[in-house]
Amino acid sequence: MKISRSEVEHVARLARLALNDEELDALTGDMDAILAYVDQLNRLKTDGIVPTAHAVPMANAFRQDEVRPSFTPEQAQTNAPAPDPGGFRVPRVIE
């Protein structure tokens, strides 16, 4: 086994996904098969190879730091499930 059910539960917590038992069972099998498949990468020697994060050889992109028009608070809230004047309402964080 490449991954156990309890590891899958741990990853689900990291990913903030409240998966049910059925989903956790199915994902354990799926992830195990996929991780076994990607293991083939270890057949390649990659010592000293520079990793590619980005395929276009480009350095940092700079621009002027200047004020430009942006969303109003009202525009930013148009899709909010629970808008509040100037913010987004969420359940209490601090008891």
Binding site: L14, I34, T46, V50
Partner: protein, 485 residues
């Protein structure tokens, strides 16, 4: 000939000659959508009223003698592009009622040039899939055979053009999501070089791989639509500030002096016999047009799918963290605290393939596994990219199949995610290398399903593949066949 059968270029000419109005064109496509979409499910949202209003505005501009290049041209957008005031779902329940407060740059450019938005087309949820079966709004059906998939993730973009519900559409391609559905639906689809077209306002899946591109009936239309969207955008710092050539001007009917490479790794056992025969016939055609045919090698091809499913899922797990039920999108009704708000909203809102990829990507990035999976994949990505750079020392264009088989049946591969992933084996390497490639029709299977030819070009050499595609298209009749739907 019905108005809806016309190519983008033919519509442009007809509008300019006043043979029909923009309103008549828009109505013809809206009627076509109404008549055919119950069988195809290509559209998630049809913009009938706003399309007619935009067409009326286009007619005023035409009457004033002041048309822009796309004035009055009806188009469809994959539902991954943010469109001001029009619902953008990304084919997910989590964005079921999301209405973007701004336009994606690619769409803004089409709009500024006068295009009329017919609607937002179906796709795999968050562009994750190869069959369009992962949409929360139901699968799209292939116009050539409605028991088959159209391919994915831009399945709606390809199907709507194949069915002449729109003369052209935009899609996105992260691992083949424009080229594979274009191949399965018998239309032209181009994935530009990473950085050629702005990704601003395109809902992100895997940011180092995602790229916007056109889906059209023929190669000339592909060049015209690419022209309309290509170029640097200050709002996307990964778009590249390099001049955009006149693509239509590079189209010519022969291939004299063009060196075409055939990668031996793309003609493997397991390649469908009809696909092999069609691609080999295409090689013969290219040779007769004057091209020099050279064998090349892309030795790391077999590792590309594994590499991709670590890099793409890692990026996806990070990009999709924003769907937390707080600022936009679905929020659960049952949470007692903030963590439950996040985790239940996400569980309720995402479909199973999206969850699978978020999980895999989270694992690949998690403490203790990062080096073994994500960093390893990034190093293999370097090898895959180098394969292409080495091959392009010898040739101008690389030619091969788009997909190992023609379109498969709905439901055929849903039980086994790995089998589904392997249908992208010839398209994924191009995204990892960051270069450009396109699919165009090159034949049909014994059962009448379209087969696509893939042409891969050097970085920012879209002109090379368009020129090759155009010459091939002029010498063949495949693009003139239409799906009967």
């Amino acid at each position: 000939m019905s108005l809806y059968d016309k190519t983008l270029s033919e519509l442009r000419a007809g509008l300019d000659r006043r043979e029909f109005s923009a309103a008549e064109a828009a109505r013809a496509f809206l009627d076509r959508i109404a008549a055919t979409d119950p069988r195809l499910n290509a559209f998630i949202t049809v913009c009938a009223d706003s399309a007619l209003a935009e067409a009326a505005e286009a007619d005023r501009r035409l009457a004033a003698g002041d048309p822009a290049p796309l004035t009055g041209i009806p188009l469809a957008m994959k539902d991954i592009f943010n469109t001001l005031g029009v619902r953008t779902t990304c084919a997910s329940k989590i964005l079921a009622s999301y209405v973007a407060p701004y336009d994606a740059t690619a769409f803004a450019r089409l709009k500024a040039q006068g295009a009329v938005l017919l609607g937002k087309v179906n796709m795999d949820e968050f562009a994750m899939g190869s069959s369009n079966e992962n949409s929360a709004y139901g699968p799209v059906r292939n116009p050539w055979d409605t028991t088959c998939v159209p391919g994915g993730s831009s399945g709606g973009s390809a199907a709507c053009v194949a069915a002449r519900q729109a003369p052209a559409a935009l899609g996105t391609d992260t691992g083949g999501s424009i080229r594979q559905p274009a191949s399965h639906c018998g239309v032209v689809g181009l994935k530009p070089t990473y950085g050629r077209v702005s990704r601003y306002g395109v809902i992100a899946y895997a940011s180092s791989l995602d790229q916007v591109g056109p889906v059209t009936i023929d190669v000339r239309d592909c060049a015209l639509l690419l022209q309309a969207i290509a170029g640097f955008d200050p709002l996307d710092s990964t778009s590249v500030d390099t001049p955009v050539p006149d693509y239509a001007a590079t189209l010519q009917p022969d291939l004299k002096g063009v060196r075409i490479g055939l990668p031996k790794e793309y003609f493997i056992e397991g390649l469908d016999a009809d696909v092999r025969a069609a691609v080999e016939q295409a090689v013969t055609t290219c040779r007769s047009l004057g091209a020099e045919i050279v064998e090349v090698s892309l030795p790391h091809t077999e590792f590309a799918v594994a590499c991709y499913y670590l890099i793409a899922t890692a990026e996806a797990s990070s990009n999709l963290a924003r769907y937390d039920g707080v600022r936009f999108g679905h929020r659960t009704a049952t949470a007692g605290n903030l963590i439950e708000t996040y985790s239940r909203s996400r569980d309720e809102g995402f479909g199973s393939e999206v969850k699978r990829r978020i999980m895999l990507g989270t694992y690949a990035l998690s403490s203790g596994y990062y080096d073994a999976y994500y960093l390893k994949a990034q190093k293999v990505r370097t090898l895959i990219r180098q394969d292409f750079l080495d091959a392009f020392d010898k040739v101008d264009v690389i030619l091969g199949p788009v997909a190992p088989t023609p379109a498969f049946r709905i439901g055929e591969k849903t039980a086994d995610p790995l089998q589904m992933y392997l249908s992208d084996i010839f398209t994924i390497p191009v995204n990892l290398a960051g270069t450009c490639a396109m699919s165009l029709p090159c034949g049909f299977s014994g059962t009448g399903l379209p087969i696509g030819l893939q042409l891969i070009g050097k970085p920012f050499a879209e002109s090379d593949i368009l020129r090759t595609a155009y010459a091939f298209e002029q010498a063949t009749e495949w693009h003139k066949r239409k799906a009967e739907i």
